[in-house]
């Protein structure tokens, strides 16, 4: 039957193919145009975490810090070697012997990206703004009520009411221009946090020049940067919500590097030509935290047996951390031990093997047997000899933390082997927050991360933090004393000893189990740029996290800007063109045949 529908269908199909061809035709030209970026040297980075804010007083997630670290300097930076203090806007700071006054030497002739001079006054302004306006992210870097004096543009004097090593920690506070931020000083926190800074004015090597939320953000070279001129002209970040697609884009050459891969994708990039995988030394840890109860307003009574160190030791001994590393993180992690992560290599204690609790279900069972935790009713679950209560635990596990839920599933099995029943409760971070705040759990699996300096990480385990940042209200006066001692110890070597002692003590007391130190995963094309700088050390982050050294040393390899999806080959064009022409001819012929019928 000669039908108009057929004609319309055929025309539509033809049009679709034409659109496809046109679009694909554009693919080649568009991609080559996009990757060449004219004569500019452009690095393209794929990220999973979108930029949440361009405001340094509201930073909270990964990409926020990446941008802020590239755009702004700190007074002192972090060394790429071991994350200790390194020259930033200041070349260094000297103390007065009693550690109450520090004199910092600011580099001369500094300029902001808009050409305005950058002096010690900008640094003092930033610090005062943080303190006076109680900026949550930064205010803890200023203990002992410090005041700041600026006798000249290259000198900042930091005076504290008690001895402090705060200036040399160094404070992770991005220095902002006074001439831009002065109007917001004294406003409420909501106003300060909502000031948009695109395009920004900073002192770092790259300035955020454009940002389309959910899509991309671009950083452009700062012409007034005080250090060596980077080879890169621009860094373009593309936001991907699909990890597989991001890997595909890297393989296609649409992007040069990716940040934040899931461990399950390691096999997709390993042994791929021209792609290198960076397993970044961990700066966070997966934590099984026990709840000791005592949170204000909590109506839940956590398992009393958890107050017994033997039970906690048995749990730690029953958990196969190596299996968690292999099965959950595909080997992209190391087994956990202390609450100071390995990235802070100067402070981290590697627990000596003779002081470790090695994985041994039989030892764990023996510990519980000896302590009288027997399975009196033969239901496979031990009972507490004091209360007769079965050893059953509610363990929420964060589904937003890589590997937490999967590790939880393994732990259910490990604890079953020693007669402890686990009710695993997978929960989003929002729900985890509820469990944590209400104390409605026996243990939970979540994560911790922190500054390179261990002070804060130790602080959250002190007794006073119950109801604030403590996981499960572990309260131990000996640990509190160790924290205080290291907090006031000004001699760095002695402090290092105290920090390590605190770690060993915490490990022995098992207020929780540090399950693993998962690696952060980055990947990059080896045929595009060379000169990636890890922080800390060769196994550290390649993309700016603690400092921007990578941006200063990256250099293109030959023609930087080849690549991109390669587009449709010529023979496909030919076939497609023939098909379209064929369809048009058929449709026209049918149209002519239909005409008399319609008359």
């Amino acid at each position: 039957m000669r039908s108009r529908t057929r004609s319309v269908l055929a025309t539509t199909a033809g049009l679709l193919i034409a659109v496809m061809m046109a679009s694909a035709a554009y693919a080649q030209s568009a991609t080559s145009a996009a990757s060449s970026g004219g004569d500019d040297v452009v690095l393209r980075v794929g990220v999973i975490a979108d930029l949440d804010t361009d405001n340094v007083f509201a930073v909270s997630a990964g990409s926020d810090y990446t941008v802020a670290t590239s755009e702004y300097d700190m007074m002192l930076s972090f060394s790429s070697t071991d994350l200790t203090a390194a020259p930033g806007l200041a070349t260094g700071c000297d103390h007065n012997g009693s550690y109450t006054t520090w004199t910092c030497h600011i580099r001369p002739d500094l300029k902001w990206s808009d050409g305005q001079p950058l002096t010690s006054e900008d640094i003092a302004f930033t610090y005062r703004l943080v303190i006076d306006n109680n900026i949550p992210q930064y205010k803890a870097y200023f203990p002992s009520d410090p005041t700041f004096e600026t006798p000249d543009p290259t000198t900042l004097i930091w005076k504290a009411k008690a001895p402090t090593f705060a200036p040399s920690m160094p404070p992770w506070v991005y220095i902002v221009p006074e001439h831009i931020w002065a109007p917001y000083d004294g406003k409420d926190l909501k106003t300060i946090r909502s000031v948009s800074q695109t395009p920004g004015v900073g002192s770092g090597p790259f300035i955020l020049s454009s940002w389309t939320p959910g899509q991309s953000f671009v950083m452009t070279r700062n012409p007034n940067y005080w250090g060596p001129t980077p080879t890169l002209d621009r860094i373009e970040y593309s936001v991907y919500t699909n990890q597989e697609a991001m890997i595909q884009a890297l393989k296609n050459g649409e992007i040069d590097a990716v940040d934040g891969l899931q461990p399950s994708l390691i096999n997709s990039v390993q042994n791929t030509p021209n792609i290198a995988l960076q397993k970044v030394v961990s700066d966070w840890w997966l934590n099984l935290a026990f709840n000791f109860g005592g949170q204000a307003g909590s109506t839940y009574t956590p398992l009393p047996a958890l107050h017994d160190l033997t039970v906690r030791k048995a749990i730690e001994t029953a958990i196969d951390k190596q299996a968690i590393v292999q099965k959950v993180y595909q080997g992209a992690a190391t087994t956990g031990d202390t609450i100071v992560r390995p990235a802070s290599s100067y402070w981290h204690l590697d627990i000596p093997s003779d002081k470790e609790f090695p994985y041994s279900p039989s030892d764990a069972n023996q510990l519980l047997d000896q302590a009288g935790y027997a399975d009196t009713n033969n239901d496979g679950i031990r009972e507490d000899p004091k209360t007769g209560q079965p050893l059953e635990m509610r363990i929420p596990a964060s589904t937003d933390t890589t590997g937490a839920e999967e590790a939880g599933e393994l732990i259910v099995g490990y604890l079953k082997q020693i007669g402890i029943k686990v009710d695993l409760l997978p929960a989003t971070d929002a729900k985890m927050n509820d469990y944590w705040g209400s104390g409605n759990f026996d243990a939970y699996i979540w994560y911790w991360s922190g500054d390179p300096d261990p002070n804060y990480q130790l602080f959250v385990f002190t007794s006073d933090q119950c109801g604030a940042w403590s996981d499960g209200c572990w309260q131990d006066s000996h640990f509190d004393n160790l924290y205080e001692e290291q907090h006031v110890e000004m001699n760095q070597t002695k402090r290092q000893q105290l920090v390590k002692e605190a770690q060993q003590y915490e490990y022995d007391q098992v207020p929780g189990v540090v399950l693993a130190y998962p690696n952060w995963l980055e990947a990059y094309r080896t045929d595009r740029f060379t000169g990636w700088v890890g922080q800390p050390g060769p196994d550290g982050y390649l993309l700016p996290t603690y400092n921007y050294d990578t941006w200063l040393s990256l250099k293109p390899i030959g023609e930087t800007s080849s690549g991109g999806s390669s587009g449709i080959p010529g023979w496909i064009w030919l076939v497609a063109a023939v098909v379209v022409v064929g369809i048009v001819v058929v449709v026209m012929r049918r149209g002519r045949k239909i005409e008399p019928d319609e008359a």
Binding site: T5, T12, D52, F217, A245, A468, S565
Partner: protein, 321 residues
Amino acid sequence: MGSRRYLLSKCLQAVVTLWFVLTFNFFLFRVLPGDPIGLLARSEHFTPEDVARLRHDQGLDLPMAEQYVVYLKDIATGNLGESLRTGIPVNELIGSRMRPTVLLVGLGTILASWLGVLIGIRGGWRRGSRFDTTSQYSSLVLYAMPEGWLGMLLLLFFSGWLHWFPAGGYASADETGVAYLVDLLDHLFLPLLTLTLGYIGGYAIVMRSSMIDTINEDFVHTARAKGVPDRLVRRKHVVPNAFLPSFTLIILSFGFVLGGAIVIETVYSWPGLGLLTYNAINTKDYPVIQGVFLIASAAVILANLVADITYGYLDPRIKQA
């Protein structure tokens, strides 16, 4: 008079539905577990006082009833608030995500409904033919296929294996003018193809069944008995009557455009409203969730209203009922 009453009652129903949706959205997100501010402040150095301060800034420390009044007042003045996470006004966020979504889902709906209806007409008219059998099975397969899976297959094939199209994203940031348009089309192709294929089956199936029902109506037999040519029977008698269910489906689908296509937008990293919703739900960003739901619900209610009114005119029996 009858028409006016019909119109008024439909408009009133729409307003009441909108109010219900607004109220439901407000309470739903507040009774769900999880504290958005606590989540936001789960970062170093935030003290409980800081958390309380942030909660106060957002008005979340007010009694629920008071929050509700503020919420209604704000919406009445077009103020959807600011994102808890980013501080960006929700109006601005939704505005920036609307274009990609309308482009992808709008265009996908047009293409899928157009092609689907054409396939349904042809299949239904020539029931049992090779075209009908093939199109029916294809429609069922496409209709049943999860969009995310189809998206991944197309992505792996066209981008991963053939390298013809980019693996995701929107247009490149540094393009302008024609180059931007070209780049946009390049990025649009795969998600649009996925969405069109994913939606086409539904339209084809509905139109085909409707055609088959209508073909057996008495007035069609009468037309044929009068000697009206087959082509005209189909065009003038069958299709206009059989199109009514598809018309409703299409209008309602356009209402859903502003809800975005969460799965496809996620697979292709397409920065639309669906993705915004997904991220906002994950981070419990109340103002954003409320804003997106409000826009999406209002669009569906409006589309429903348009369908009701148009239907009334297309089929006068409905107005009289």
